[in-house]
């Protein structure tokens, strides 16, 4: 079989309902046109049953208590159409963008993958339903036959080759053309169905209706053929939502964001893609004060709309809408918009999904999606700069490292034995390395020298005698910059013997508190802490001594 057509009945209504699922339950009428002259442009079957007619004014529709009124949304129609194309591309790479509510697929070669035509049609309907639209699907050997069958018959329709004329016969002639003049002529002739139209002789029809008559006759008989006009897959994934009432709170906003993310992820899933970054842009409600101030100046000009933008960049591509929503929520909690939101734009940067196949003997690492949420929560707890992966900087400056984003890279899940070149292999035979506990910021200390050798140290209100010293280890650098450094480092073994009253009185409040904690009746810890190995340094530029850390 050749082609499948997917048609979305009541496309305008379905596009709106796709964005606001709650509207789909009852009768719904869509209003369009310029604001003072609102009129009904589309409605669902329940609304027509209730008595709604196309062209009714807003006031007339408002008299129907059971019918919900909603504005037509071109943005949502555009998004729904893009989603429909994505669903079609998920089945076949050869897709024609026939109309906003219609797409045609070439089914050549798909039977080996999806089975019989009925299975293909059912799979198509399922995938379109996954993006929030109810589709009519028709499969036929002819493109035009598939289109007209999809527009004319509900559900799934399979038209075998050779039966086109018989199957299309009961359909009204209105499925072939929307030209009022032609339809009126056919109505005067008493031609209401395709079967009746196909029975008319082509020559006489041509004499009376011209080439249009020939075309209609061929369409009614199911013999008109044409080539598929292929559409190019789009790489942009965008959804937007305009709100009737501006949203201020995070909870209702999360609900809306979740819905948009669901739609985006469904589209990406249809295209077998994942999200690398999500950009959210809010159109904020202008404040009353600003409107009032600018009323006179900008009466004729539309006031500038405030924008708020947030970019969620992911270390690994993912497609889980719940995870993305959690990450977005955490970002918005940290930096909420300054005004109520009246419009939401969301775009996704697509990327190929990550490969999740690990080696059999490779230790399992954290799940990247879960890890990203955890890192976001930790960042909120301790601050973004206090979290991540330490990366050493190629410099002799002490404490030269920078924090980078922690990512469980793919190469970390490599097979054992193929280690990174810059990672030192750890063997159990090597002795332990003396740990250095760094004091941040470096703690000021008073040092007494004798023959250029430290002999006494006053630290944290304690006086310590230097038992052994190693140094000075001189280093300097960046003298050509503002933050030059020049230091003399010493490794000292210090025996603290007595508290230093002088230092305690001049110590900072934090130090005094620390000293008071140490002077609690915890004899054991106090006695033990009186001996230690310290790394201190003399800052030649500031001409002061500091403690860099303790060997522990």
């Amino acid at each position: 079989m050749g082609f499948a057509c997917v048609y979305i009945a009541d496309f305008l209504v379905q596009a709106v309902v796709r964005g606001q699922r709650a509207l789909g339950a009852g009768a719904l009428a869509l209003l369009g046109g310029a604001p003072p002259l609102w009129s009904v442009v589309a409605a669902n079957p329940a609304a027509f049953e209730a008595g709604i007619q196309l062209g009714m004014t807003k006031a007339q529709v408002a008299q129907f208590g059971t019918v919900q009124i909603c504005a037509r949304s071109e943005a949502q129609e555009k998004a729904a159409h893009a989603a429909l194309l994505d669903a079609a591309w998920s089945v076949s790479p050869r897709v024609e963008d026939t109309a906003a509510d219609t797409v045609v697929l070439d089914l050549e070669g798909l039977s080996a993958l999806l089975g019989a035509d009925e299975n293909i049609a059912r799979e198509l309907a399922r995938r379109v339903a996954a993006i929030g639209l109810a589709a009519r699907v028709a499969v036929a050997a002819n493109i035009e036959v598939a289109i007209h069958a999809a527009r004319g018959f509900p559900g799934i329709t399979i038209i075998p080759a050779g039966e086109e004329r018989r199957r299309l016969g009961p359909l009204p002639v209105g499925v072939l053309t929307t030209e009022t003049e032609t339809l009126e002529i056919l109505e005067r002739w008493g031609v209401e169905t395709l079967q009746a139209l196909a029975a008319l002789p082509v020559l006489q029809l041509s004499e009376r209706l011209g080439q249009e008559g020939v075309r209609l006759s061929e369409l009614a008989r199911g013999v008109r053929k044409r080539a598929l006009v292929l559409a190019q897959p789009s790489s942009s994934f965008a959804e937007e939502m305009e709100l009737d009432d501006a949203v201020e709170e995070l909870e209702p906003l999360s609900f809306l964001l979740g819905r948009l993310l669901d739609q985006l992820c469904a589209r990406l899933e249809a295209r077998a893609l994942a999200v690398r970054a999500v950009r959210v842009r809010f159109e904020l409600q202008p404040s009353f004060e600003k409107d009032f101030q600018t009323l006179k100046e900008e009466l004729r000009r539309k006031p500038d709309v405030k924008q708020y933008e947030k970019v969620l960049t992911l270390p690994v591509p993912m497609r889980n809408a719940k995870t993305l929503l959690k990450l977005l929520r955490l970002q918005l909690q940290g930096d909420p918009p300054a005004a109520p939101i009246q419009k939401i734009y969301m775009t996704a940067d697509a990327a190929a999904p990550r490969v999740a196949q690990n080696g059999l003997f490779v230790p399992c690492g954290p799940d990247p999606e879960k890890l990203e949420v955890t890192i976001a929560r930790l960042g909120k707890l301790v601050g973004e700069g206090n979290l991540g992966c330490a990366e050493l900087v190629n410099s002799h400056r002490p404490e030269s490292f920078r924090m980078t984003r922690f990512v469980v890279a793919v190469e970390q899940n490599r097979q054992r034995g193929k280690s990174e070149p810059n990672v030192k292999e750890h063997t159990d035979a090597c002795p332990a390395v003396t740990g250095l506990r760094v004091m941040r910021p470096a703690q000021s200390v008073r040092v007494e020298l004798r023959d250029e050798l430290p002999v006494r140290v006053y630290l944290r209100g304690m006086r310590g005698e230097v038992v052994a010293a190693s140094g000075p280890w001189r280093s300097s650098g960046d003298w050509w910059q503002e933050d030059a450094w020049q230091q003399e480092e010493w490794d000292l073994e210090i025996e603290f013997t007595a508290p230093s009253v002088v230092v305690a009185q001049h110590a900072a409040p934090a130090l005094r508190q620390e000293r008071s904690e140490q002077s609690q009746p915890n004899k054991q810890s106090r006695t033990d802490s009186q001996h230690g190995l310290y790394r201190i340094y003399y800052d030649a530029l500031r001409q002061r001594w500091f403690v860099r850390g303790v060997y522990a």
Partner: protein, 263 residues
């Protein structure tokens, strides 16, 4: 009749817990832990290694060698390709020393906290996230009296969270606080500092010395991994404490921590 109702009840409970608890009535030996290397051969000989799915406490005073053991353990885990996390309660980790100790810094998530509240909440989040080979919580510089105020149920919650996972939860602190929640408690003490002095014949600076490192004595305070037979009997009437609290010669090892320039 009673037996059949019991069997019915058992099957009903098993059905209710299906998917959440695998074989709830099956006996599990909670002391059977998978042990992994600490990175220090002497410590491995002493305790067999660090237990997975359990909490281990390393305690000792300032400068007792806790950080050296912590770095070795992290280096050992990251060298095996595991992703680890370090919750640094006072932001005192030195990446340069860590790199020299063999830690693959790219596999270490470093959480730099400012207080113990942040550290405990960060630990909770990391344990819940799962997938880490080791989560090390460095409370060394937090005063013991502050850590003592942590409710015991916090440690219980941590222990329950890491149970049945391959995660090692390592606490580094001044005193053991997790009580029975810890499956292994080690106490470290610093020994003599080792200095290399210039020989008199060499034409050196008069006080030329080089810090080579220091020795560390490690004692097993409590261990559920290898309980000696005599310690399994506790005299309830006399209320005697288990003998494990008193280190024996066999429960003590000495290892050396060398400075990075001595390696």
């Amino acid at each position: 009749m009673a037996a059949s109702s019991l069997a019915t009840l058992r099957s009903k409970i098993e059905a209710d817990l299906r998917g959440r608890v695998a074989s709830p009535f099956a006996y599990r030996d909670r002391n059977a832990f998978e042990l992994v290397s600490t990175g220090v051969p002497e410590m491995d000989a002493l305790v067999g290694g660090l237990p997975r799915g359990a909490m281990t406490e390393i305690c000792g005073t300032a400068g007792s060698g806790r950080t050296s053991l912590l770095l070795s353990a992290l280096a050992s885990r990251t060298a095996d390709g595991e992703v680890c996390a370090l919750v640094d309660a006072r932001d005192s980790f030195d990446p340069l020393t860590g790199d020299a100790a063999g830690i693959a810094l790219g596999k270490l998530l470093w959480v730099r906290c400012q207080n113990i509240e942040q550290a405990l909440r960060a630990t909770d989040l990391l344990i819940q996230a799962g997938g880490f080979g080791m989560v090390a919580v460095d409370l060394s510089d937090v005063p013991a009296r502050t850590v003592r105020q942590v409710p015991l149920n916090a440690w219980f919650r941590f222990r329950r969270a890491v149970e049945d996972t391959p995660m090692i939860l390592l606490l580094v602190e001044q005193e053991p606080h997790a009580k029975t929640c810890a499956s292994l408690v080690l106490r470290l003490e610093a020994g003599e500092a080792q200095w290399v002095e210039a020989s008199a014949s060499s034409n050196c600076y008069p006080f030329a010395k080089l810090l080579r490192g220091f020795t560390v004595r490690a004692d097993v305070v409590r261990s559920r991994l290898q309980i000696p037979k005599e310690s399994r009997v506790v005299d309830i009437r006399r209320g005697t404490q288990p003998k494990m609290s008193v280190p024996r010669d066999a429960d003590r090892r000495v290892f050396e921590a060398e400075t990075i320039w001595s390696k």
